[in-house]
């Protein structure tokens, strides 16, 4: 692909837009009556979106026949982790204000927090082993096996959203359907390959 590095740079900047947008809203007083809730939800939503984008790169590459797409996957995945980390920091800092007692209780007692926390924890080793050096050290096969944790993390993330909603599950359902399609594609491919 001719302009790949330009495309990658543009996508990198695009990946920062959700954060810049929050900064702008904060600056111009547009975060609404409950800014902490707004920030938390926005960061959570973008984590989910980026996780799904990351998971869609492999199927897209296969379907489109554009091999260069794979070279964007790490960046997408790291952006997903970046927003997950900000989402997590928002929770422990802005929402709970480092009240460790309350946080521990929350993580243990509230299923939607437990599973969200698990989804985040699962992403940490993937972010750490995302470098070329780590890939080499682990070896391609082991690295790939480890990075299949992203499937579990994405499932947990969608369930996290689903369980937190009071009643209207339209939004989590949209994410669940897309995730099911993306994971279904892989299951289908696996079972076809096995035959």
């Amino acid at each position: 692909m001719k302009y790949f590095s330009q495309l990658k740079a543009a996508l990198f900047l695009a990946g920062l837009l959700p954060l810049l947008r929050l900064g702008w809203y904060g600056y111009s007083g547009q975060l609404g009556a409950n800014p902490i809730e707004f920030i938390t939800r926005s960061l959570g939503t973008w984590t989910l979106v980026l996780l799904l984008i990351t998971l869609s790169i492999t199927p897209l590459r296969k379907l489109s026949g554009w091999p260069w797409l794979i070279k964007l996957r790490r960046m997408a995945g790291l952006f997903a982790f970046f927003y997950a980390l900000l989402h997590f920091i928002t929770y422990i800092w802005l929402d709970q204000f480092f009240d460790l007692n309350a946080i521990i209780k929350d993580v243990i007692k509230r299923p939607f927090i437990t599973i969200g926390f698990a989804a985040f924890i699962l992403l940490i080793p993937l972010a750490i082993t995302s470098t070329n050096a780590m890939m080499k050290r682990l070896g391609g096969k082991r690295w790939q096996q480890l990075h299949r944790l992203v499937y579990l993390s994405a499932i947990f993330a969608v369930v996290h959203y689903w369980w937190l909603v009071k009643k209207d599950i339209t939004q989590p359902l949209i994410y669940a359907v897309i995730l099911t399609a993306l994971l279904g594609y892989r299951v289908l491919k696996q079972s076809l390959a096995a035959k």
């Binding site: 947008r21 809203y25 547009q30 975060l31 609404g32 009556a33 409950n34 902490i36 809730e37 707004f38 939800r41 926005s42 939503t45 802005l94 929402d95 709970q96 204000f97 309350a102 209780k105 929350d106 007692k109 509230r110 299923p111 939607f112 369980w163 937190l164 009071k166 009643k167 209207d168 339209t170 939004q171 949209i174």
Partner: protein, 322 residues
């Protein structure tokens, strides 16, 4: 999304009248709707056309009496009280009622009183407004979701109405039914709740002097998104108990199964008293975020009204009757 037929757009003159009343108000609402659009970007599926100009209600309510029940805590800004609302009749997003409630027409309006009562009757909203002297009641409002506000309501004690219609001996509970009209309330086109919205109180709760029918806030007629033209306010209970845009008050011998109880009986009970010691199954109720404050504060038993209402629940297991 609401698609208006030309016949439906007869409220244009109302809009105009309200518009010229306060241009600044309009600008404020526009700014608010920008915020709502921002919220819509976070949840793209919820982004709907706004009708903000119609959501304005600025008519003043004069001569409100002060009340000893009012708190002296800092008021939640008008802007927040009228832009951050749970009113599923206008969408499940908290910013959408302020955008979409313009389709609600609170005038003319009637409230029918029926059931186990001597004087079954239908009140016109204008008659209801004159039923008793209006008071200002500055109450805390605690949402089951874990946030709270301090709101200067205008209204009168529910007991005034109850006394006037004289419930009979079978009347043990009061049921409140909100408007069911998917044209005026576009959120009702989704069956997210079992419409109409229904809530209920035990008779002694309904007769309690803290329970009011609110017709305004901040000295003005109730904005549509806050439940115009008349809503219930029971400050010691979670916010969802306070039925909005009430069209029917029914006296019954058995407790109502409220809309939220039907939706999820394990999470929402009939009493729904604010109680920091009984958690919602999915989140803690021990603390709350007061809108406008950074740090969470402790939630108080019965939302700080224990002195007034605790005796209503003597001997009851509040864990069981949540």
């Amino acid at each position: 999304m609401l698609i208006k037929k030309p016949d439906d757009i007869k409220s244009s003159e109302i809009t105009d009248k309200r518009l010229y009343q306060s241009r600044r108000e309009f600008m404020g609402i526009t700014a608010r709707s920008l915020g709502a659009v921002a919220a819509g970007m976070v949840a793209p599926g919820l982004l709907m056309a706004s009708n903000e100009a119609e959501a304005i209600a600025t008519a003043k309510l004069g001569g409100l009496r002060k009340s000893a029940f009012s708190t002296s805590e800092t008021l939640t800004p008008y802007r927040d009280v009228t832009s951050y609302n749970n009113f599923y009749e206008f969408g499940t997003d908290k910013y959408s009622p302020a955008q979409l409630a313009g389709t609600l027409n609170p005038q003319p309006w009637t409230i029918t009183v029926e059931g186990e009562v001597k004087h079954k009757k239908t009140y016109d909203i204008d008659a209801l407004l004159k039923l008793a002297p209006l008071e200002e009641r500055i109450y805390r409002l605690r949402c089951v979701e874990g946030w709270s506000m301090v709101i200067p309501w205008a209204g009168f004690p529910l007991s005034e109405l109850i006394t006037q219609v004289e419930p009979n001996g079978n009347a043990k509970f009061v049921e409140f039914v909100s408007l069911h009209d998917p044209i005026q309330m576009p959120g009702q086109r989704s069956n997210v709740l079992d419409w109409p919205y229904v809530e209920g109180l035990r008779m002694d709760e309904a007769m309690h002097p803290l329970a009011i029918l609110a017709v305004g806030l901040y000295g003005e007629v109730l904005p549509n998104q806050n439940g115009a033209p008349v809503r219930l306010v029971t400050p010691w209970k979670y916010g969802f108990k306070n039925a909005k845009s009430i069209v029917k008050i029914r006296f019954t011998s058995t407790p109502t199964t409220s809309s939220w109880m039907k939706t999820n009986p394990n999470e929402y009970g009939f009493f729904a008293n604010v109680n920091p010691t009984v958690d919602h199954p999915r989140w803690s109720q021990a603390r709350e975020r007061r809108i406008g404050e950074f740090l969470k504060r402790d939630t108080l038993m019965f939302n700080g009204y224990a002195e007034q209402v605790a005796h209503l629940y003597n001997g009851m297991d509040l864990r069981k009757y949540f």
